[in-house]
């Protein structure tokens, strides 16, 4: 009983986001009137899964009370790389997939090295590397274009056995293969510990450097997974700096809606998935409710503001003012 209570307490942010998404999705399906068709589910899944992956990526650094402002740029850079090398015979597509993921990993490792060994503030380090990754993406693809092996792309953007959207299966795989082992490992636990109290984590004997480095490496890897999927959906690469920026900022919002604290140490990547889907579902809802296009951005903004505020509001939980004024340093 105590265990269940603890589990709920620990995951109430993620559960809230899940509940919010299910409610929004239900309203959307009912209002849309075409029923729960697999095509509709796939469309919603494909739209949400990209931000979900970038938001998962963002979760790792935020858990260590850091931040990665370059996830959007890595997403765009890997998209551009994938638009070049994901063609030809199957073995080349397979090798290309691995190369795309590896390039994301390298980007993440550079971020991590700058933060851990360069001792730069994460915001600044990733702000700068983000500009570099964007520049690289522009070098690779000065104009949008490229091609992707069509069967491979079709397989990733439709359904498995005609019943389950492939992107959701990939998302589940990422959770099971990357997130769950990470969460259970000492390195993952170390990330939570750093986020709660870096000095305490250090004193406990946790390898602060290894955990922090791993957080940025995983962020790069997951952002690259998102970039890979984006390529299979758009069948091209586009080095647009604005779309990278929007993904970075939306990923922070999704992480917060998903119940992860920006202070670090609380939350998890699964909540971020729900947070991302909530953010994506807003535009669907505005569409089915026939909101005027010119008013839509305003309502979207209000909902974003409301959602992140609800996710982050701390006055409701504090016992006194000192609690949220931070520890003296």
């Amino acid at each position: 009983m105590k265990g269940i209570q603890l589990w709920f307490a620990r995951n109430n942010g993620a559960l809230f986001a899940l509940f919010l998404f299910v409610a929004m999705f239900a309203i959307y399906v009912i209002k849309n009137g075409v029923g729960l068709r697999i095509g509709l589910v796939t469309a919603v899944a494909n739209k949400g899964v990209l931000l979900a992956l970038v938001a998962m990526a963002q979760t790792f650094p935020i858990l260590t009370s850091g931040l990665d402002l370059s996830v959007g740029s890595i997403f765009v850079l890997t998209n551009c790389i994938a638009s070049i090398i994901l063609s030809g015979p199957p073995w080349m597509v397979a090798a290309g997939t691995i190369a795309v993921l590896l390039s994301g990993l390298v980007c993440g490792a550079i971020n991590g090295a700058l933060v851990v060994y360069g001792r730069l503030q994460p915001i600044i380090a990733t702000l700068a590397t983000g500009a570099v990754y964007n520049g690289l993406a522009l070098t690779i693809r000065p104009v949008p274009g490229g091609s992707v092996q069509p069967t491979f792309a079709a397989a990733l953007t439709t359904q498995i056995f005609g019943a389950v959207p492939t992107t959701l299966v990939i998302l589940l795989l990422v959770v099971l293969v990357v997130w769950v082992p990470f969460r259970l490992s000492l390195t993952g636990l170390g990330c939570y510990a750093i986020g709660s109290s870096e000095s305490a984590a250090y004193m406990t004997g946790i390898s602060v450097r290894r955990s922090r480095l791993a957080a940025y490496v995983f962020a790069g890897l997951l952002a690259a997974t998102g970039g890979l999927l984006l390529t299979t959906m758009t069948l091209s690469g586009d080095a647009s700096a604005t779309s990278g920026g929007i993904y970075t900022l939306s990923s922070i919002a999704a992480v917060v809606i998903g119940g992860t604290s920006l202070m670090g140490g609380v939350g998890g990547a699964v909540g971020s998935i729900f947070g991302a889907f909530v953010l994506r579902e807003v535009s669907d809802l505005l569409f089915v409710f026939d909101i005027q296009p010119l008013v839509q951005p305003f309502i979207q903004g209000l909902i974003l503001l409301g959602a992140v505020s609800l996710g982050a509001i701390r006055v409701l939980r504090a016992h006194n003012r000192l609690e949220f004024l931070g520890v003296g340093r």
Binding site: Y133, L294, G301, L305, L325, G326, V327, R329
Partner: protein, 317 residues
């Protein structure tokens, strides 16, 4: 003398050193880079970023961040030009005050959210940015209000007196105001104190809420004012005109030695950071380096400079 030395701490000296090196390298490529005319032009271009960075710096000194800058800049630009259409041509003089007031209002909302609701500034200002964007699109998307720069805006942003661009004078005035506020008033002391430890500052009997609100109002005011000036400089206001200014503003503040964690930094550093970024951008574009290579150089430059002097002194443990 000691006070002057206090202003010129290490990051400031290094940042100005980098500017000198850049200009000398540029001068080797083309003598024009060292002419007084070119330098004044650079200062004029820098003044818009400089005004935005002034507000951003006050917020960063508190250990917070203002991500609503892009659309507050746009709001300021559009408000300053649209006044003529809404109130009639005889009211164009009200453009700048109305723009500044609208920016101050957004800043007030930011400040209230951060100080009273205790929502992290990073997400609250991010949300406010989306809300302001929505409001701007709602009011200007369908009916296309006047977006041409009024004579007053052009006078402020483009004209010059005795070769001195008015924009530079405006930036200097804003700068003096910020320096006086930070160095000579209790408010400035409290900003540094709260940036170091809001908890201790609060326990010392200072209302840190007011400090936070004033800081965010300052940032909103500066952004909207810079937006109005940018509209004058570009000849018109347009959607998303503030988008390219958020990251350079933050980078300029940090390159100038202000700690992103708050509590440490001075305004001369921000001036150096702003000029550094503007000159770097200008030299790279004159040398006709592609946009891609410019971004890479820009990012690499920030990394190198931060590795030289921006390293976090508090190591693990």
């Amino acid at each position: 003398m000691t006070r002057a030395l206090g202003l010129l701490d290490r990051p400031v000296v290094i940042a100005f050193g980098f500017i000198a090196i850049l200009l000398i390298l540029g001068g080797i490529y083309n003598k024009q880079f060292l002419s007084g005319f070119y330098l004044l032009q650079q200062l004029r271009v820098a003044s818009f970023l400089g005004i935005i960075a002034s507000g951003a710096m006050v917020v960063i000194l508190l250990g917070h961040i203002d991500l609503s800058i892009p659309w507050v800049v746009t709001l300021g630009g559009l408000a300053a030009t649209a006044v003529a259409g809404w109130l009639g041509p005889s009211w164009t003089a009200l453009g700048v005050p109305i723009a500044v007031a609208s920016g101050a209002l957004v800043g007030l909302a930011n400040g209230l959210g951060v100080a009273f609701l205790r929502i992290p500034s990073m997400v609250f200002t991010l949300g406010m940015n989306a809300v302001v964007q929505g409001m701007v699109i709602m009011y200007t998307g369908g009916n296309a209000p006047p977006d041409q720069a009024t004579p007053i805006l052009q006078w402020l942003a483009v004209r010059e007196t005795f070769y001195v661009p008015h924009a530079v004078v405006v930036w200097a005035l804003v700068g003096v105001l910020v320096i006086v506020a930070l160095k000579r008033t209790p408010f400035g002391r409290y900003v540094y104190a709260a940036g170091n430890s809001e908890r201790v500052t609060y326990l010392s009997g200072i209302s840190t809420r007011i400090i936070l609100i004033v800081a965010f109002v300052t940032s909103g005011t500066c952004s909207a004012f810079a937006g109005a000036m940018l509209a004058g400089y570009a000849g018109k206001a347009y959607q998303a005109m503030g988008d390219p200014y958020l990251l350079p503003a933050i980078a300029a503040v940090v390159l100038g030695g202000t700690s992103i964690l708050g509590g440490r930094g001075n305004y001369l550093g921000t001036v150096a950071g702003v000029i550094l970024i503007t000159v770097l951008d200008s030299i790279l574009s004159v040398m006709q380096i592609s946009d891609a290579a410019r971004q890479i150089t820009y990012g690499a430059m920030i990394v190198v400079m931060m590795l030289v002097y921006g390293r976090d002194r508090r190591s693990e443990g």
